[in-house]
Amino acid sequence: MWFFRSPEIVFGEDALSFLNGLDFRKIVIITDENIKKSGLASMVQRSLPEGSSSLVVSDIPEEPTLADIKKRLNAVSEFAPDLIIGLGGGSSMDAAKAIFAIYERPDLDIYDITPLVKLNLRSKAKLILVPTTSGTGSECTWAAVLSDEDHSRKNELASTEIIADFAILDPALVLRLPPGITRNTAVDAITHAVEARSSQWRNYYSDIFAEKAMELITQNLPIVIKDPENIRAREEVHIGASMAGIAFSNSQVGLAHAMGHSLGAHFRIPHGITVALYLPQVVEFSEPDARESYLSLMNKMPEKFRKGNLADSLRAFFSEIGQPLNVKDCGIDRKEYSGRLESLVALAEESTGCVTNPREASSSELRELFENVM
C-alpha cells in the first residue's frame, strides 16, 4: 500500500490570474526582500480578488529557522487571514507552510509536524504556493525544511496537511530569474528527478513524473541559459521542476541529497550546487542497483549529452551549463573540506536519503563519495 499526493496545480501563461476568481477576503503573502524589490509581490497583489485586503510579510531570510517563523507569526495572527500565499523559492514557500501550520494550531509544537500526528489544519485558512524559481518543487511537496538556530542542521517537518491547496506555476514569475539562480535551482530539480526515479520507494506515479521532469528540464535549460526571456522554454523548465517535486515528494530523494544537505550545513552554499556536485558520483555508485531507472532517464536527455551511462551524461550536461563538479569550483577550500570529512559523513548518515537510495552506502563508501569530488 502506498499513496500518490499532489496539490491542485494551475499552470501556464497567466496562471496567476486564477487568484482573482477565488473567494478569499484577507490574504497574507509570505515572501522575501528580493521578491518584493523585483515587483513580483505587487504583481501577485494585483491578481488578488477584488475587495480583498492583503498583508505582505517580505522579510523571510534564506534558510529560515524556527525563531524566524515565530517572529513573524504575531503579525500574521493579528491580520487573521483566510488565505496564506507563499511566494518565492524554497525558503519562502517552506516558511509559508510552517507559518500556516502554526497559525492554524498555535498550541502545536513545531516538531509535532510529523506524518504521525493528525493536525486538523484549515479551520482558519487555506494555503497557496507560488514559486518564483524553477527548482525546489516545494510547492508540490508535503515537507518544509527549517534550519537549527546555528544553521548546523536542517529539520524536516512533514505532514500531508501542509501540502498546498493550490500550486500556481506562472512562467512570468521566473522570466527574469538571474542566470546563476536559474542554473542552481534547475540542477536541484534534475537531482530530484534522478533520485525520485531510482529511489527504493519509487512507484508507478513517481516514475512518470520524474521522467517527464527530466525531459522538460534537460531539453529546455540550455535554451533558457542562452535566451533567458524565452518564455516557452522557461515555462517548460518551470513545469518540469514542479513535476520533479511531485516525483520526489511521492518517492523520496537519495544520497545526493543526504550529502548535499550535509555540505550545505557545513559550508553555506546554495542547495542546488551542493546536490548537483554529488549527483554524478552517487549515480555512478548506485548504477548496479538502478540500471533500468538510469537508462530511461538518460534517454530523456537531449541526444548530444548521452554518453552511454547516466553519470557521464549528467557530467556532460553540467559541464555545458557551467555547473561545478568539484569542491574547488564551488568556492570551497579543499583543505577545509577534507578537514571536515568525518563530520560531513556523520551528518549525511542521519538523512533518510541514505536508506531510500537505490544502493545503500556504508560509512566508508560514503566517505569515498565525499572524497571523490575533492
Binding site: 510529523t114 504521525l116 529539520n155 527504493q200 520507494w201 548518515e349 533518510t352
Partner: protein, 133 residues
Amino acid sequence: MPKFPTEEWASEYVEKLNSNPAYKDAGKNWEGDITFVIKSDDSFDKDAFLYLDLHHGECRGSKFTVDSSEIPQSEFKYIGKYTNWIRLINKEIDPIQGILTGKFKLEGSMMKIMKFTKAAKEMVSTASTVNTE
C-alpha cells in the same frame, strides 16, 4: 528453525544483530531502548513483546515475553499486527513506509528515530536473516 515470535527467535535475532557490522556502524550513535510489540490477529492469538536495550551499535540486553507487565518501560515502541510483522521480516513492507501507511505505529520521538533510519533498516534486514519458520 525458530518460529516468530518466540524466545528462541528473539535470541537468534539478538545474536545476529550483534554480529551484523552494518548495524554496528549505523547504530553507533544510538542510545535508547525499543520494544517490538506484536499484536494478535487472525493468524496469531496473543500479543507478544520483544524488548531490546540498544546502545552504540550493540544490543546489550533483551527480553521476550507474552506478558506486558514483564516488559521494562522503553523509549520507543514499534507496534504492529502479527501478519504485518511477518510481511516486514519478509521485506514486503518497508519499516518507515509501514508507519506512514498505518500498518505500524511508532511511540516515541519520530524526530529522533528519523535520524537513525539506517540503523532501523539494518534491524529489519537482520530479522530477515533469522531462519524463520
